[in-house]
Symmetry: C2
Subunit: 461 residues, 2 copies
Amino acid sequence: MSKTVVIIGGGPGGMATASRVKRLRPDYNVIVFEKTRWVSFALCGTPYYVAGIAKKLEHLMHYKPEYFIKNRGIDLRIKHKVESIDPDTRTVEYVNLDTGEKGKVEYDYLVIATGARPRAYDFFPEIKDIEGVFTLSHLDDAGKLRNYVEKLGSGKAVVVGAGYIGLEVAEALAEKGFKVIVSEMFNQVLPKALDPDLAKTVQEHLRSHGIEVLLGAKTTGFKADENGRLVGIETDKGFLEADVAVVGVGIKPNTELAQMVGAKIGQTRAVWTDEHTETSVKGVYAVGDVAETTHLVTKERIWAAFATNANKMGYVAGTNIGGREAIYKGTALTAATQVFGLVVARTGLGEEEAKKKGYNVIAVSLRSNSRPAYMGDVEVIRFKVIADADTGKLLGAQALGDQSAFWRVNVISALLEREGTVWDLFQTDIGYHPYLNPVWDPIIVAGRLFQRQLGETPRKA
Amino acid sequence: MSKTVVIIGGGPGGMATASRVKRLRPDYNVIVFEKTRWVSFALCGTPYYVAGIAKKLEHLMHYKPEYFIKNRGIDLRIKHKVESIDPDTRTVEYVNLDTGEKGKVEYDYLVIATGARPRAYDFFPEIKDIEGVFTLSHLDDAGKLRNYVEKLGSGKAVVVGAGYIGLEVAEALAEKGFKVIVSEMFNQVLPKALDPDLAKTVQEHLRSHGIEVLLGAKTTGFKADENGRLVGIETDKGFLEADVAVVGVGIKPNTELAQMVGAKIGQTRAVWTDEHTETSVKGVYAVGDVAETTHLVTKERIWAAFATNANKMGYVAGTNIGGREAIYKGTALTAATQVFGLVVARTGLGEEEAKKKGYNVIAVSLRSNSRPAYMGDVEVIRFKVIADADTGKLLGAQALGDQSAFWRVNVISALLEREGTVWDLFQTDIGYHPYLNPVWDPIIVAGRLFQRQLGETPRKA
C-alpha cells in the first residue's frame, strides 16, 4: 500500500532520505518542503564560492531540483515553508512563499530535516540592521557576501569565530584582497576541533599568510556609521575597524517543528533520535543538523552538524521508511579543513576533551616528513593520537600537513569504529611508496610510541 | 649480562633489528655484517634514482654507516661477507671483502637478514655476459643502469616483467627519452597485485603515456651482437629490439645461511618464522625479504618482500632479543605504486585470488570523482572492495587514482587488521572536505553497494 512521506527541509539529509525512500518504494508519495530555492546543497562549499573557486552558487547543489522531480520522482516543493504540524491528524500545513497560497497534507511518515541556523543573531541582534555584517550559513549568504566584497574590492575584514568555516572564509577574504583579522573568544583557533598544541601550529600558519589572529577576544558589539554601514567590531581586546565582518559563532538546531510534533529534545538541544534515526514519536524521523546522534567512541549523545552525518542519517531514515531495517551507529566527529594549503583533520576525542571526560589519557605526538627526503617536495606532517592508558583503547586523532594528514585521521576513525587499541597501529599494514609516505609511516611510529609506554603487547588477562 | 648479537645483512630489516637491540640493551654487542657498502637502503627508491629524482645513490640510505656506528653504537662492518655458520659452536665465519682477511665471531643471538636476489639469472643465465641487460635489485644496479642509459642518451628499452619495479623503471626510462616496451608473461600488468579489471586501466594509462605494453609474452632469450652488446629480447610473441633491458621477473630469498644454521624453510621457500620473528632454531631470528610471515587475512604463511614488512620484523626481532616480548601479526600485502601520476594501491586478497582460495566472493567496484565538481581539478578514482559473501568479512581492496586511492586502501587495511566487515564501511566516520574528497566518499558508497546485496545490517544469529 502506498504511503505518504513528508520531509521538511531539502538539504543533504532531507534529500538523501527522499531519494532513498523512492529507490526502495517508487510507489510511495514523497513530498519535500524546502523554504529556499536550494536543495541538496553543500554548505561546506560556501567559502569556496566566496573565494571564487566555485563559479556559481548553483554549482553548490549536488543535484538540481528538476533532477529530483523528474529523475527520482520526488514531489519537491521549493519555496514552500511548513508552518505547523498537527500530530493527532498527522497533518502538515504549509505556505507557498511565492504565491502566499496555503495548503495541508497528511503524512504516514514525517522526516524533520530542518537544519540549523546561526546563533549570531541571538548574541548580536543589532547585526540584522548593519550593512556589511554577514553570516555564512546558507547559499544565499555566500552570494550576498561575495557580491559585497567584490563591490568593495578591498578593505578590512573581521571574521568573528575561528571555527572551520571562519578560517575558510578568512582565507577567501584574504585572497579577495582584504586585510583579515580572525577574532576568537577562546584562546585558540578551532577550539572545538583541535587540542591547543596543534591549534598553535595552525595559528602560526595563518599568521604567516598575513591573517591577524586575535585570541581570547570576546566580541561585545558591532558599530555602524550614520548610514547603517559597518565601521568595526567592539571586543574586550579593543576596537577592530572593519569594512566587512563575517560572524561564525556557532549554530543551533531548528527544532521548533519537531517540538510541535512532540518529538523529544535531547540533552544536546537537538532532536533526540535512536539508531534508526527515528525520534521519540513513532513514524517521525529526524536527520541532519537538526538531529542528535551517538558518539561512536563515548556512546554519549552528541550533536554533529556535518554533511557526512546528514547524508548517512538520511540514507538510514529513508531505508527504514522504505521497509528495510538500517542503523546508524553514530559519529566520531571526524572533520577536516584546509587553510592556505595546510590540511587540518581530527576524529574522536581530543586530549583535553578526553581528560575532561575522566579518561586516564595517554597521547603521543610526532612530526614526520611526508615522504623520503630523496624524493624532494617534502612537507612536515604533525600527527597526534589519543588513547585510554588503562585499556589501550584508541580515543581520537588529530593531524596537520598535506592530504595524507586527513587520511591518517580516517585510518584512526576506522579503528575507532572497530574499537581498536594502540596495538593495532603497529599491526595495521599501512602501505608504503616513496611518492606517498615515509617507510615508517606516522601511524606505525605512533604505535611504537604508545608501546614504549604501555608495553609492546596488549596486557594479558 | 652482555650478549653478542650477530646480524647478517645491513638492509632495512637488519638495521632495524640492530637499532632496536641497542636502544633496549646498549650493553649488548651488536655486530652487523653487510657485504655491500650500502646499509638501511631503500630499494623502492631505485627507479627514482634511475629517473634522476633521487640525485645520489647515497641518498637512498636512510642513515649512513657512520651514523649507525657513531650514534647508535652498532659494530657495523660493511663489505664483510658471512661465509658460514656453525650452529653447534654458535660461530659465524666472515671475510672482509676489501682485504680478504677472515675472522670468526661467536653469537648469543643470530639474525638472518640476508634479503633476496633476482631470479633473472636463473631463468636467463646468458644475461650475465650481455652488456645492456640489468636487474634492479640493489643500489649498485640502479647506479649502473643510470650510467648506462645516460651514456646511451636515447634508444629502445625493454622491461621484462610488469611488477611494481618494472612499471616504475619503465616510466623512468621513458622520461630519460627511451622508447619503452614492457613485456609481461601474464595477461595483465601487476599480475600479483591487481585484479584484471583494474590492471586494464593501468595498461591503458601506460599506453596513453607512450609505453608499449606487451602481455602474454613469454621471454625466451636475450640476443647480443658480436661485441656482447644487447640487440634484443626473444619472446614467443616476436623479437623485441632493445638497446637496454631491465629484467624484473621476481626475486627469491637468500636462505643459504639460514639453512646452514638449521632453520626451517617454510612452504613459501622463505625462512619460517613465528610471531616473534624467531626461526625454528631458538635464538635465531629471520627478518625482511628472507623471511616468511603470516597473511593477516587468511592466516596462511606468506612471503612478503616489502620494506614495511622488513622494518616491522626488524623492530620485533630487536625487541624480543632486547628482552621485551613483541609480536608481529603479519602482513596484508598492502602495497602501492605510482606510474605517470596514477596511484595504484592494494591490500589483502584480490577478487580472483580470493575465489581461488575458495571464498564465496563478493566484490564491489566503483568510479568516483576525487572531489566535488565545483572545486575543479577533479580526478577519477577507481575503488574496489572484496569480501566474503557468507560472513560479510572484508578480504581486500584495490584502488586507482590520486593519493587518496592509496589511503582508502589503508583504511581498508586497518579494518582487515580488526577483522572488519562490509557493514563497517558505512559506519566508519570518514571525514569530508571539498578539497579532499566527495561527501559520499567511495568507502561509504562501497558499503552501500555491499549492503544492497548482503542486507543493510549484519545478519542476526
